[in-house]
Symmetry: C2
Subunit: 407 residues, 2 copies
């Protein structure tokens, strides 16, 4: 298959592209570089050093003998999307290319607007480009388990059979997301479902859980192929961030009592899930949703797991929760469709956590302690976060200064 | 109460502002003039002549003795929103200020993007301005019955009690809208519900049906206070458009067999509903939804009703449906909450249709036959609609040319 990975320079887009390439597909990566621009804005950097966009594509070519096409541009630019989707003629478009941090979207108004515009407009442009492609193109779109929130009923995979007043219909599963970022993914889901309905597009929406881990079979082949590792309050994810705290021999922090339960998965399963979805495409007109996680974990349980494996004794601190979310709640989410396609999960074993402790330990000198503590408060509309660069310099979709044009 | 009507120059925003002013409230209207810019773009104009934004506010003042504040600006400009919401300090923000045409949003990619960005960003800016106001401000937001689509179960007012696998939760009613415009309102609904949840905002979402009629008690006081009357394929609504066809002695047109059923209401009920919602505000933290319509009508039944009252014999033509929607379907939607607040509906009587026939007859010379026939096809991504002006000149939120900024 010809597969383009949008957002192919990101934490997951990059290893997914390598995995698809290693599996024998002809792969292109497209990226605007915006994730690196967020680093410049926030004064952060990947814990694990990463090479430049084009450079590491060449390294992959040298290591694997397989070519990786590169497109540098922004999905908010419809001409760029047309060149990639119309011009390069992929069979499958894997779409990771969104602002993916909930705290980033909650910094202030400008970051909320940037997140929703960047994500919604990029996806609309992709939908139009696929509709205009003149041949079947399967969209594999990254959503998030956070779209569902934490309802008091079982979470199904995207759709729900509802019986009400004696009648039954199959409806999109009701959403109650927890940040302007998660909302942007809900908006996308509705837009994508509509495009399937009116234009006969084929789409798979992967509602992914929280990813942990740092290394895949492909990135392990050369250290210059490493993907980024984020541990800061804005882009870091929970397990990876706790490992950094453990290496620093500092208390592991949970929000509130840590009773939040989330679906989680190993980065090696992310790349496998995307491949399985691509290799088993949706039908024309079908909008299908897979819940992409392998295990449910309570946040405190995770912290205790990391603490047990840490080289020194470490305690767990409860922070005032900067987010507005249930401290403890019912949580039971279906996740069988990817297993049915053949996913063999890497469940969270001690070896994975120990491997992360070793990896972070090797880069210990690069840790910036000042970016870990959460300062983005959901209840505030203007969070005082250190910004090293101006938001307005970000490519694509920043609307702080959009107003009436002179007529 | 101090009430600002955003979109106060539009078809419904203008008569709502007058109605609130006549009821004794201190009213301001805010508008960017974008609806008049759409006219320039599409080469259309209101059938009933309308006065300029500031001019008719002054006429109202002369006629009623009540002042109407005016703010000219765009909700995509956060500074403007802060001046209106923070500066003028309303108790209630009535938000009509969105691109409101489904066909407009389906013309092509640029119009879809414009619609979603304009509506979503404008509403986000309003939410942030209210959160920053430092005092309670009730948001009364215009949604649409089209957010629900036509599910095979009863439609409730915004929320639904779902029992699933033996457990029950109250969830946002699942949405399945039928255009990128309707989707923009779904996106808004999710964003507004979230703002209520995290910031304690009080919001009423009015999911309005299809409005017919042209005159309210207040606009009737002076012909210079008339609100706009649209009959073109893009901004015209079904009953008003059929009346224009009847006056032209041309066949009334329905899409397919005309079996579509929609909630509908008289323009006099629109203004009353908004007043009732404003005068009975939501609680802090409450996101409530009222389904704002008074009767369900099948489109063919409406056409037969108009045909029966037309001065000459007129037939009903079935057009290929340019939209992707069910030709006939179950439809039963709750609409009791506004009745509970005291709404006394103007049901669709012969007098209303005869009054519309007389009104349109008086302006018969102004009818442009070329703008009635539907040419915006949901299945096409590039509709050949006559555009007299460029989309890019529209104020606020057009993203055709947004791409990476030079760095």
């Amino acid at each position: 298959m010809r597969i383009v990975v949008l957002g192919g320079d990101g934490f997951l887009g990059w290893p997914t592209a390598l995995h698809l390439s290693a599996a024998g597909h002809e792969v292109a990566i497209a990226d605007s570089g915006i994730r690196r621009a967020y680093d410049a804005e926030l004064g952060t950097t990947s814990l694990v050093p990463i090479r430049g966009f084009a450079e590491r594509a060449q390294i992959w070519e040298a290591v694997s003998g397989r070519h990786l096409h590169t497109f540098e541009g922004d999905l908010c630019d419809p001409g760029f999307v047309a060149r990639v989707v119309g011009g390069w003629a992929p069979d499958t478009v894997v779409h990771f290319a969104e602002q993916r941090s909930a705290p980033y979207s909650m910094i202030d108004r400008a970051h909320a607007v940037h997140t929703q515009v960047n994500n919604v407009v990029g996806t609309l442009n992709v939908l139009y480009a696929i509709a205009d492609a003149g041949r079947p193109v399967h969209l594999v779109k990254l959503g998030t388990m956070g779209e569902y929130g934490t309802p008091d009923i079982d979470i199904e995979e995207g759709w729900l059979d509802v019986t009400h007043n004696g009648r039954t219909d199959r409806v999109l599963y009701p959403k109650r997301p927890g940040s302007f970022y998660h909302l942007s993914k809900v908006h996308d889901s509705h837009n994508v479902e509509f495009a399937c309905r009116i234009w006969g597009l084929a789409a798979t929406d992967l509602n992914q859980g929280v990813v942990y881990g740092a290394v895949t079979d492909e990135t392990a082949r050369d250290q210059r192929l490493a993907t980024r590792f984020d541990y800061d309050q804005v882009f870091g994810t929970v397990l990876n961030r706790m490992v950094v705290q453990a290496v620093l021999e500092e208390p592991l922090t949970v929000y509130g009592s840590g009773g939040q339960v989330r679906g989680m998965l190993d980065i090696r399963d992310t790349v496998a899930c995307v491949r399985l979805a691509a290799e088993h495409p949706a039908q024309a007109g079908e909008y299908r949703v897979f819940n992409q996680f392998t295990e449910q974990w309570g946040v405190r349980d995770l912290a205790e797991r990391v603490a047990r494996l840490a080289p020194v004794e470490i305690k767990i601190d409860e922070l005032d929760n900067p987010r507005v979310e249930a401290a403890s709640h019912y949580y039971r989410a279906a996740h069988t469709k990817l297993l049915d396609l053949g996913l063999v999960p890497h469940l969270l074993g001690d070896e994975t956590i120990l491997g992360l402790l070793r990896l972070v330990g090797r880069h210990r000198e690069r840790i910036d302690r000042s970016v870990i503590h959460p300062t983005v408060d959901w209840r505030s509309t203007r969070n005082a976060i250190r910004l090293d660069g101006p938001t307005a310099d970000l490519p694509g979709g920043d609307l702080r200064h959009v107003g009436p044009r002179p007529r």
